[in-house]
Amino acid sequence: MSLDIESRSSTLSDDGMPVEELVVNVGPSHPSTHGVGRVVVHLDGDVVVKADPVIGYLHRGIEKMSENRTYLQIVPLTDRLDYVGSMYANWAYCRAVERLARMRVPERAEYLRVIVCELQRIASHMMGIGASAADTGAFTAFVYAFDLRERVVELFEALCGARLTYNYVRPGGLSSDAPDGWEESVVDFVHALPRKLDELDSLFFGNAIARGRMKGIGVLSAQDAIAWGATGPTARASGVNWDLRKHDPYSVYPRMDFDVVVGERGDAYDRNRCRLLECYESARIVEQAVAQMHGGPVHAEGVPRLIQPAPGDAYDQIESARGTLGVYLVSDGSPRPYRMHVRSAAFANLALLPMLAKGHTLSDLVVVLGSLDPVFGEIDR
């Protein structure tokens, strides 16, 4: 964060004038790096010449730690991957374990997983939108988004006792059934949600200043989105019609009626608004899931405390709020995985930043970064 006189590099501009690049070190401790990301930005005046994300400040070696833990002990670790959407990492990991150990999950557990993950999508998107709003200076929109997130977090708190690291999904089911009256409060929440989202839509996405800040910024073409492995709202905003819940359906999603939200331009505005509109669809899914769900066990029978799958490997993926979240597990028959790898959506999406930020101003860099919705817990792992 210091002005490195030495780090200014002198080059010649197109018309032969000497241009002095200013190197600004955004992060790792900076208000809008969404955690501890760092971007080394080379500026020509106010225009970004090169933006080089430097990651790893939150690298805790979760993949390495997993080699020394039993399958159950890894679940709390997955909470810490994507700490904005812990349920996703829980679920993706547990799906991989269930695939590896050939477990069957009771139907009620699948419905509850869908409900919590769609609620988590709302919470996570509200975090993404709120952070984007704060990046553009709209602090009140941030608070409104966080208000909605808070309602979801309170529901989760009643469900599993934690507000951030839920540790709720378990191999073979869930840690506990929903408490009495929880389903009703979920329905109340999703019924009240669209009106509040409309308000956020008009306040932030309808605002002329916000549009000016986000429209045409960080345009990602559909071809690039596919080639660079972008997934989730980042890819959908570019017009890539790709949602695992629809195109590679898992769990009970085939029984749900919902639409895929896509954008046309692929700019920061589309990416953020894609998130907002997905919340409406999530509310629809939650409503249907609560209606379709009926009683029963929430944990598979006969799952021992010490899961010891047969040697082999398994990969499973789910559509998280940030895109395809996959977990690749290799077992050597012992109670601990031989290798666990997390295919992180935010990691792949952040790789787009140098491409998207180039040619924009420093202010826009922050908007582009916010619109990619990076969560460094998942990126650095």
Binding site: L72, Q73, V75, P76, L77, D79, E98, R99, M103, R104, V105, E107, E110, E154, E157, A158, L159, C160, G161, A162, T165, N167, S175, S176, P179, E199, L203, G206, N207, A208, R211, N241, D243, D248, P249, Y250, S251, P254, D259, V260, V261, G263, E264, R265, Y269, D270, R271, R273, Y280, E281, H299, E301, G302, V303, P304, R305, L306, Q308, S334, P335
Partner: protein, 712 residues
């Protein structure tokens, strides 16, 4: 292959995408031209309106930290330990028979009912038995079990132990050997029998007659004797025991065990009249007049047969008749013959094994069900197969081949499915036939009571199918003062279920005699549902934690005669096996160390002395600076001693090593929180029995789970 259930109409491997409707586009532009200019400016004022509207409303946030809108019971905060094992901390479940069920129900309501007790039809306190056995009080253990079980020695041999399948230890490694521990208790009771078995005082003038000396009849007799009634038990056979004597083979239940326990009951005052056939010898009306109450616990007398051709041929017999002959004479006329047993239940397996022991040259078991769905207990099937029984599953009898009125074989028809979609018995047969040559066919497809003789001449009426109409919960018949229990009421079932119905019948009789309404304020046994555990995976479990292995006679040797198959645990094995008990739901930490083993962050440290007789937790530390609040430890806790508190965010702990201090705990009856003491002072744990030495190093280093020990 998929690990979950998908929509039924979809092939799990079908990865074709669903039809996707695209109704929503995220892109949203202002209109072009002047209209867009107006829209842009109006968006400014729309924004101002929204914030103004919100400002006009009362804030709905809360004053933190003074109030909290939702306080969920599932707070996953800092931990609280409610108690630490000293030997007096866990009580056994003891109550006189009429109040016992009430006690069980209260425990169930408080979610403090151990699963073994909850899953037992008679609610035998297996936890208390393990507690006493580990504490070297076998006589107490035996009497505790006998209060509910009447014949622990017998049931310790033959019970199908639903307690063990519910045992929470299944979740960690293997269940406690509860049934073998009954046997250990019985065997060790021998030295106490003389001083402990005393005649129960008869304090009441009323007398009760019980017809049948099977498990249910003897249970009701024992319950009533304890209440002070004089009980007369009538048995038609020369020896008492009912189905235990005639139906259960001696290799499972040695006759001297049965005789010993019945003798104990007689010593306690039960009057047994053998060889008296009610109905023909003494009319039941006579009993009804003579006694204040009569209990019919006659059991089932004859086997059901199938209405197929040649069923009356020579060589076809029923299971009860066969077992009766086999068990009494050890010879049922099958020596050197080929035997076919029809049926897949436990009785069928017993028949097959008895036939082997009576010298049958080959024994085949044919059942409608497939191998996986056989109703017999899996361990029985396994033992039978070990001994050389051949199983022919998924075949039903078509007709008996008996050309000269004598069995030469049986034609079997393949069976496709046994139960229909609703789970009702409705076998579907295929076209495949198979002829099996055999000399003797035993039908073990069900049993029925034979009460016509018993009730003749009385006001008791039987239904058309020969059954006695009985109220299943109150055990009353249509005649006041006449009750029924056991398999007469429940149909073919387990011994422990018969015992449970004997308890109910005794309670009804007590109420009847004392003039209390039978159903007034009566508590029925709660039937909790426990999770089913899979086969234990023993890889990764240290041998010291495993279940004591029951020594068995070798399969080929044991099939030759009626010697017991299970050889029993030694006293030492029994003690250490009893010490494996986790004292479920006792809310007392027993030092099982599962929390420490589960903790991903080594935040918990448990130390205990590991002597079976005086096991005691000496130290329980929680390092809050390491705790990640995952909650796995409290989920693992079998005793519910470890609980979460609401201290997650409002925590007032210092983040250093905290110690759950026993003296602190004793001061605060409701439990304690981490005290914040330095980890050096180990509070001495003083159980009621053997004092723990100050040097409380755990005898088993594997139980000391702490980072320093784990580094290898």
């Amino acid at each position: 292959m998929t690990p979950f259930k998908r929509a039924p109409e979809r092939d799990p491997l079908d990865r074709t995408p669903l039809s996707v409707r695209l109704q929503r586009s995220a892109t949203n532009d202002y209109s072009p031209g002047a209209k867009g200019f107006v829209e842009a400016w109006s968006s400014i004022f729309v924004g101002l309106t929204i914030t103004a509207r919100r400002a006009a409303r009362n804030p709905d946030t809360l004053r933190y930290p003074f109030e909290k809108l939702t306080l969920s019971p599932r707070w996953r905060g800092a931990l609280r330990l409610t108690g630490i094992l000293g030997r007096d901390d866990i009580g056994s479940i003891e109550a006189p028979s009429p109040d016992y069920i009430r006690r069980i129900e209260v425990l169930e309501d408080e979610q403090r009912l151990p699963p073994c007790v909850g899953n037992c039809p008679a609610n035998v306190d297996a936890r208390g038995q393990a507690l006493y056995l580990a504490d070297e009080r076998p006589a107490d253990a035996y009497e505790l079990v006998r209060d509910r079980n009447t014949m622990p020695g017998v049931l310790g041999r033959i019970c199908h132990h639903p307690c063990e399948s519910a045992c929470k230890r299944n979740h960690y490694d293997e269940p406690i050997a509860i049934r073998p521990l009954h046997r250990v208790a019985f065997e060790r009771y021998a030295e106490f029998r003389e001083e402990r078995v005393r005649k129960l005082p008869v304090t009441r003038s009323e007398r009760v007659a019980i017809i049948g000396s099977g498990p249910s009849g003897l249970t009701a007799a024992f319950d009533l004797m304890k209440l002070g009634y004089e009980v007369h038990v009538y048995e038609k056979d020369p020896k008492p025991g009912g189905a235990l004597l005639t139906g259960v083979p001696a290799y499972r239940l040695p006759r001297e065990v049965l005789a010993q326990e019945i003798e104990d009951l007689q010593s306690m005052g039960m009057r047994l009249l053998t060889g008296v056939r009610i109905g023909s010898d003494v009319p039941i009306d006579h009993l009804i007049g003579e006694y204040e109450a009569v209990l019919i616990a006659a059991g089932l007398q004859f086997s059901r047969m199938l209405p197929i051709p040649n069923i009356d041929a020579k060589g076809v017999t029923g299971a009860i008749e066969f077992l009766r002959a086999g068990n009494s004479k050890h010879d049922a006329g099958v020596k050197g013959k080929r035997v076919l047993v029809v049926g897949g239940g436990n009785v069928a397996v017993d028949c097959a094994r008895v036939a082997l022991r009576c010298g049958a040259s080959e024994v085949t078991l044919s059942s409608l069900e497939s191998m996986d769905e056989l109703p017999a207990h899996p361990w029985e099937i396994e033992e039978a197969l070990d001994e050389g029984v051949v199983a022919m599953c998924s075949f039903g009898p078509h007709h008996v081949i008996a050309p000269e009125g004598r069995v030469t074989g049986m034609r079997l028809q393949s069976c496709l499915s046994v139960f229909d979609a609703q789970g009702r018995f409705s076998p579907q047969f295929g076209d495949e036939y198979s002829d099996l040559e055999c000399d003797v066919i035993i039908f073990a497809i069900g049993q029925a009571p034979d009460l016509t003789d018993l009730v003749s001449g009385s006001d008791l009426l039987l239904t058309e199918r020969g059954l006695l109409p009985v109220d299943g919960s109150l055990m009353t018949t249509e005649l006041a003062g006449v009750f029924a229990c056991g398999e007469v009421v429940t149909g073919p079932g387990s011994a422990i279920a018969s015992i449970a119905s004997g308890h109910e019948a005794a309670e009804s009789i007590r109420r009847y005699i004392q003039g209390v309404a039978l159903d007034e304020d009566r508590v029925y046994r709660p039937v909790p549902v426990y999770p089913r555990y899979g086969k234990p995976v023993l890889k990764g479990i240290e041998p010291s934690r495993r279940r004591a292995k029951m020594p068995m006679a070798r399969g080929t040797d044991r099939a030759k005669d009626f010697r017991p198959v299970e050889l029993g645990l030694t006293h030492i094995e029994g003690m250490s096996e009893a010490a494996r008990c986790l004292r479920c739901a006792s809310e007392v930490c027993v030092g099982c160390t599962f929390c420490a083993r589960t903790c991903p962050d080594y935040a918990i440290r448990v130390e205990r002395t590991d002597d079976p007789g005086s096991r005691c937790v000496t130290r329980y530390d929680l390092d809050l600076s390491k705790c990640c609040f995952c909650g796995l430890c409290a989920e693992q806790c079998p005793t519910n001693a470890l609980k979460h508190t609401g201290q997650y965010e409002l925590s007032f702990y210092t983040r250093d090593l905290t110690v759950f201090n026993r003296s602190e705990m004793l001061r605060d009856g409701g439990g304690t929180r981490a005290t914040g003491a330095d980890g050096t002072s180990v509070s001495a744990c003083r159980g009621a029995g053997a004092p723990i030495s100050e040097d409380s190093s755990p005898s088993n280093p594997e139980d000391l789970v702490a980072p320093t020990e784990v580094e290898q």
